[in-house]
């Protein structure tokens, strides 16, 4: 993928299988959102291809929903724009736990409520694939845990019948959802990928949250290279120079 002849993403092979939860992580400017946009078909890759199963329904939850103040819109109306019936809207809001905002103007919602409304909207399409771009951004840790639990429930509920897969971007480099099947760390290319470790075993997490949660997990990176500021791979550095930074 190139912008203005600048390589943004190279040599990336991303595959999401039915029922699988894949989390994309990486520093700012790593190309996470670009990769998601390519996966969604919003952007044509400069080279390479995107292949989706025929008839695949995608539920997309954008990173931020800025509803202009100039648009008077209630949550109900926002969800009904999908063409779904009121009962379906009720169900979806119930599933994401925000039935009470049905008649509220969209602009009056809190960050967490808005994220849940967006998730409800993504669910309304009965998706085979949920694409979530930083779903817990701007939500506090408790809220994050709840949202992750919700996403896991959604995957589990439909796993046998519909094989709902989840492709998620996480803004946090180390904390990802525990039920993630695969973590892919990118910085213009795939740096590393693998299973996240269970949270409970990680001392850093235990110190932070007292080991109460099953929803967050720490992903330990295992890079074999270093990056320059522009994301290019640098020659392996000596431990001395590493210590200096």
């Amino acid at each position: 993928m190139k912008f203005q002849n600048r390589e943004v993403l190279t040599g990336i092979n991303l595959q999401v299988n039915p029922g699988e939860i894949v989390t994309l992580i990486g520093p700012n400017g790593a190309g996470k959102t670009t990769l998601v946009r390519v996966a969604l078909g919003l952007q044509e890759p400069t080279s390479g291809q995107r292949s989706v199963r025929k008839g695949l329904r995608i539920g997309y939850m954008p990173q931020k929903l800025h509803i202009d103040d100039s648009m008077p819109l209630t949550v109900n109306r926002f969800l009904r724009l999908t063409g779904c019936r009121l009962t379906a809207v009720h169900d979806a809001l119930g599933r994401t736990g925000v039935s009470h905002v049905l008649q509220s103007p969209l602009q009056s919602l809190s960050g967490g409520e808005l994220q849940r409304v967006l998730l409800a909207r993504a669910l309304l399409h009965k998706p085979h694939l949920l694409v979530l771009d930083e779903p817990v951004q701007g939500v506090d840790v408790t809220g994050q845990k709840e949202l992750y639990q919700l996403i896991t429930e959604i995957r589990n509920a439909s796993r046998d019948r519909e094989h709902c897969a989840v492709l998620m971007v996480s803004h946090d480099l180390h904390l990802v959802m525990a039920s993630t099947d695969k973590v892919i760390c990118i910085n213009q290319h795939v740096c590393c990928s693998g299973h996240p470790h269970q949270v409970k075993q990680h001392p850093a997490y235990l110190r932070l949250f007292g080991g109460e949660s099953d929803e967050l997990a720490v992903y330990t990176h295992h890079h074999d290279h270093h990056h320059g500021v522009d994301g290019h791979i640098l020659e392996p550095q000596s431990p001395v120079s590493e210590g200096k930074q």
């Binding site: 919003l42 997309y60 954008p62 202009d68 648009m71 008077p72 724009l81 063409g83």
Partner: protein, 261 residues
């Protein structure tokens, strides 16, 4: 008895107000005010081309607006330039090219002022046909595409992922705006068309709870503005189109002040 001239001015003004309301809401929702300005300024280029080539001016205006829109889209995709800069360049260049071109045409003697500021009190039956005929077409298209257009205005990418043909809708909206500009140009002039779209919509925004309410309220406000402006023009002998804009602006101010209390 109301004189014919005032009656047809009122009918023309009401027609334009009804048309401008829904499009004005989209302009406000999608933050396209500059875009509307550029389209309407470029209409003058259409006028001069129409006069030079001796084709129907309304059609020439629609064609030139679409051309400007196409240029705009291709520039935005290829050059990296702030779109307000680009819009400013295109708006004023096309306006000036239009004025310059007309000055070359010795055989045509037209009062360009009436195209710049409109001539509401000189509307004839053929203008009314254009306004109500074109208007019916615009309103029918909007009603037909209302839901996808609304989805696109809320969040374009979400709409695209959900399978709404965003590019086509964007082009359709541009085409509709070009049509409205073409029919409204003679009435309010290229410099003031956008104000007739955005001022009532911006006023209605604070009074409405749903998008549809906003359209209806802004149509009513547009009609009030036209009535007020024409009354001022008739009794105080002020220029008609600017008076309509001033009247709309007064309504805007009043709702702001009332709401603040």
């Amino acid at each position: 008895m109301m004189p014919d001239i005032l009656l047809s001015a009122l009918l023309a003004g009401y027609g334009v107000a009804l048309l401008a309301a829904p499009l004005g809401c989209f302009v406000v929702w999608r933050r396209m005010a500059y875009f509307g300005d550029t389209l309407s300024h470029s209409a003058l280029l259409g006028v001069s081309l129409g006069l030079m080539l001796d084709i129907n001016i309304n059609l020439a205006v629609i064609a030139s607006s679409l051309m400007i829109a196409a240029i705009l889209v291709s520039f935005q995709e290829k050059q990296r330039m702030a779109s307000d800069t680009l819009l400013g360049i295109l708006a004023h260049s096309s306006l000036s090219i239009g004025l310059v071109t007309v000055s070359f045409a010795d055989n045509v003697r037209v009062d360009m002022m009436s195209y710049l500021f409109g001539d509401l009190l000189a509307t004839g039956p053929s203008d009314l046909y254009w306004i109500y005929g074109g208007g019916a077409l615009v309103l029918a298209t909007l009603a037909w595409l209302w839901k996808p257009l609304l989805s696109m205005s809320v969040h374009a990418e979400l709409a695209q992922v959900e399978g709404i043909p965003v590019r086509k809708l964007r082009m359709t909206l541009t085409l509709l705006m070009a049509l409205v500009i073409a029919v409204a140009m003679k009435i309010v002039g290229v410099l003031l068309i956008t104000s007739l779209m955005i001022i009532p919509a911006a006023t209605a925004q604070r009074l409405a709870r749903t998008p549809e309410q906003m359209v209806i309220v802004s149509a009513l406000l547009g009609i009030l503005g036209v009535s007020g402006g024409l009354a001022a023009s008739w009794y105080l002998d002020t220029p008609a189109a600017p008076s309509v804009v001033v009247a709309s602006f007064l309504f805007f101010l009043i709702t702001r002040l009332i709401k603040r209390k």
